[in-house]
Each structure stands twice: as structure tokens, then as C-alpha cells.
Assembly symmetry: none
Homo-oligomer: 248 residues x 2
């Protein structure tokens, strides 16, 4: 289970933080580190020193140009967010996030991404709106910004606890929901659907990209909340195709 949890760091500035994240991950048994456009040279002495023996994770870190590519093959994308947003999004506590993992990862092809933003400014609204849910570490409201590696440590700890609680002894298992008829849509499938939806809404005159208000954000939130499966996304895209054909 733990090998299918990816930690994604966006535009990290301090190599020491990346090293400390690698250490926190390896301490908790996570191994899949993805870096989106890091703003530092991260295979340096400072990072290796803070990794304190977890430098295999640094060496194996995957580099991406944008969040999109870093989470393309993930079935669940959760963003770590300290801020509350104008548009409410499904929120989880770290414990709720952990509790949902075993079921989420019961299907062997499912992958989970946990996304962390910049040290100074976190995740952008556009990045947050690519996430199925947001997870917030309950912190002192007067001093709520955790160090990046500390935030990863807390969430990786909850991942490990969830894994330990679900370890072997399958005889004692409760029946699970793993009999869903189709696998979940990947992040890339979802993004293709959203792009297609937006084009279609423009065609039918419902959406004006110059005055978007919150339309696409609200539709994203709605569909992401439902966690569409692959067949459902195919149906939705089929509907969009039929509308385009009819209005041509």
C-alpha cells in the first residue's frame, strides 16, 4: 500500500527541506517522491545532510514540469492546505485521510498523491482545484504554518498508521467496497474531461471564459467529489461529443 502513495512537492525553494522530506518519508516507509519545478538544486550537500541516509529517495526523485504530469496516473489527489478558501472544497483531517487510504488503495492499480505547496505561499487556487480533497493539519490558529518536512512527517505518519492497522491477518477483515464495477478515472482522464466540458460550455453559450466567475471551479468540485470511474467519464465525454455534433 505505502509504495503507491506519492509525495509531490511543488516549487520547493530550500534543498534542506527536500532532504528532510526524504528522511521523513523513508522513516514512515514511503518511497515515491515527485518534485514539480523545484526552485533549487536539490542533490546538494545540504539536502543530503538533512536526508540523513535517505538519499536514495533524493536520487530516485522524479522531476516534473507541472502538477498535471506529476499526478497523471493517480486515482486520488489530495492537497495539503492551511488556508480556508472562498470556495469550500471537501476537507479532511489527516486522520480522516489516513482512515480512507486502505479502501482507496485496495484496488492494486490505484495510486494516491499528496501534494504540498511552496514554503512561502503553499498551493495556488488552480492547484487546489485539481485536488479531489484538501487535508488540513489542525494547527495553532495564531501560528499555523508548519515547516514543509514537518507537514510531510505528520501526513506520512498517518499513512503509516493506516497501513499498520490494516496489515495482514485478512481473516479479521470487514467486507469492503472493492467490488465497484469499474476502476476510478485517472487524473489525466479527469483533466481531459474538464477541458472538453469547458469547450462545450463555451459552444452552447453558457460559459464566457472572459468572465468565468467560479463556474469551472464549482463544476470541478462537484465532479471531483463524486470520484468518477472510467466508464462514467466515458459516458460524460460521450454526452459532450453528442452535444458538439448536434450544435455544429
Amino acid at each position: 500500500m505505502l509504495e503507491r502513495i506519492r509525495i509531490v512537492l511543488i516549487q520547493t525553494s530550500h534543498p534542506g527541506n527536500i532532504g528532510a522530506v526524504a528522511r521523513a518519508m523513508k522513516n514512515m516507509g514511503l518511497e515515491d517522491l515527485a518534485l514539480v519545478a523545484p526552485r533549487c538544486e536539490f542533490r546538494c550537500a545540504d539536502a543530503i545532510s538533512r536526508a540523513s541516509g535517505a538519499d536514495t529517495l533524493l536520487a530516485g526523485a522524479k522531476l516534473f514540469e507541472n502538477l498535471e504530469d506529476a499526478v497523471a496516473n493517480c486515482s486520488l489527489v489530495v492537497g495539503a492546505s492551511a488556508r480556508s478558501r472562498t470556495l469550500p472544497w471537501p476537507m479532511q483531517s489527516p486522520r480522516q485521510f489516513g482512515a480512507a487510504l486502505p479502501e482507496e488503495l485496495a484496488m492494486p492499480d490505484n495510486r494516491v498523491a499528496l501534494v504540498f505547496g511552496r514554503e512561502d505561499s503553499g498551493l495556488t487556487n488552480a492547484e487546489l482545484q485539481r485536488c479531489h480533497a484538501h487535508v488540513q493539519i489542525p494547527a495553532n490558529p495564531d501560528f499555523s504554518s508548519l515547516n514543509l518536512a514537518a507537514a510531510v512527517q505528520v501526513l506520512a505518519y498517518e499513512c503509516r498508521l493506516a497501513w499498520l492497522e490494516n496489515e495482514p491477518t485478512p481473516i479479521n477483515k470487514e467486507p469492503q467496497d472493492d467490488d465497484w464495477d469499474h476502476p476510478p478515472a485517472s487524473h489525466a482522464d479527469l483533466e481531459r474531461f474538464f477541458a472538453h466540458l469547458e469547450r462545450t460550455l463555451i459552444v452552447v453559450g453558457f460559459h464566457d471564459p472572459t468572465t468565468p466567475r467560479q463556474l469551472m471551479a464549482r463544476l470541478r468540485r462537484l465532479y471531483l467529489r463524486a470520484r468518477p470511474d472510467q466508464l462514467e467519464i466515458n459516458i460524460l465525454r460521450g454526452i459532450l461529443g453528442a452535444i458538439e455534433k448536434k450544435t455544429r
Copy 2:
């Protein structure tokens, strides 16, 4: 409750770690930091930088010559230990430690100390034997040594959760769905939407009611799963209206 939890660091070598501990503590609402014979000058630039605004905790840190004095007024002393010992000692998980705190601190004069050892060698046997219990963070057995501040972060997080769960004020509760921006759609609203959706799918030639297969059932399952709110249903119906108008 949190103000009566003391973090005790024994013979810490790196000022950056002390700064990072101060930050982790303040993030979780802890304020009482005690240092036993630190092996560094801890009110330095490196510590202040890593404290990242929690330097009041550094300035207010209490200095002691030995563990004895640092925990003299504490009713419960728990040592963080990664090693298993030859002499078995009461062991707790971080979660068990947290769960016991509210009762422990119900009496207003009780105080709890959480004791952390040296970066390289942890706590000595003599120190461990001064503790009522040991707490062990469940870590990867092949890479089990957490950074000092990361270990403090995990245990301070469990302290905070224990406190929040026992707080009466609703602001501290787990995220709930009652802060959503619009009330949920009623059953009747949903049924009107499904009827409208079906009419539109017939108009655009995607749905043939004489051979429906499972189309409407699948779309129902998808949308019902998302529990749409009233505004979302209004948006979806607005989209259907725009499609009808465009195809007329």
C-alpha cells in the same frame, strides 16, 4: 491542557534542531520548552531561522543541568525511545499517549513531560528508567531514526488532537459538511434535474429510451454520490437549458 505539557530536550547538539522543535511546538499550541545541558549555543541565527517566528519559545526556554530537575514538578514523565530495551518498560504508541492525556491533565496541577534524547544516541538507560512510560513512534524498522524536530512534531500533533477532541468549542472539531456554502439540493430538485437531463440527452441523440441500457442509472449513481448542493443543481440545469436553446 496544552500549557501543562513540557517538551524536554536532553543534550541537543544542533541549534537548528532546537529552533525546529520550537516551531513544531508552537504550531501545535505547546509553549513549555526545557533544555537539559544543551551541547550548543541555541540562541543563534540558525536556531532562530529554523524557529521561523517561534523564537519566543527559544527566548523562554528553561535551562536545566539534568533531567531530574527538568521534570521535578511533572506528574507524568514519558520518554521518546526508538530502541527496544533489555528491561521491558511500559510502552505506548503516540496515539495511546495522546488518548491518556485528558485524564492525566484533568487535575489542574498535573503536568506532563515528554523527554527526547540526543540526536545521535537518544536517551540513556538511566534516563529511560526515570520515565513512567516510553513512547515509540512506529517507524520503518530499516530506517527508524527520526529527526529530533520530526519526532517532536508527531508527538505534539497527538497532544493537540487529544486536546481538540476534548474541547467543547465547535471551531476545533473535525471538518464537517455544515460549513458548505449552499444547502444540499432536495430530493425533488434532484428528480427534476434527472428528468431534465434525460430529456436533453434524447434531444442531442445520446439516449434512446427504447434501449436505455443502464445510462440513466449510471448518471444517477454518479450525481447522487456527489450530493449536489442547490447552486450546483441550478448550474447543471442552466447548462441543460443552454443546450436545449442551442439545438432548437
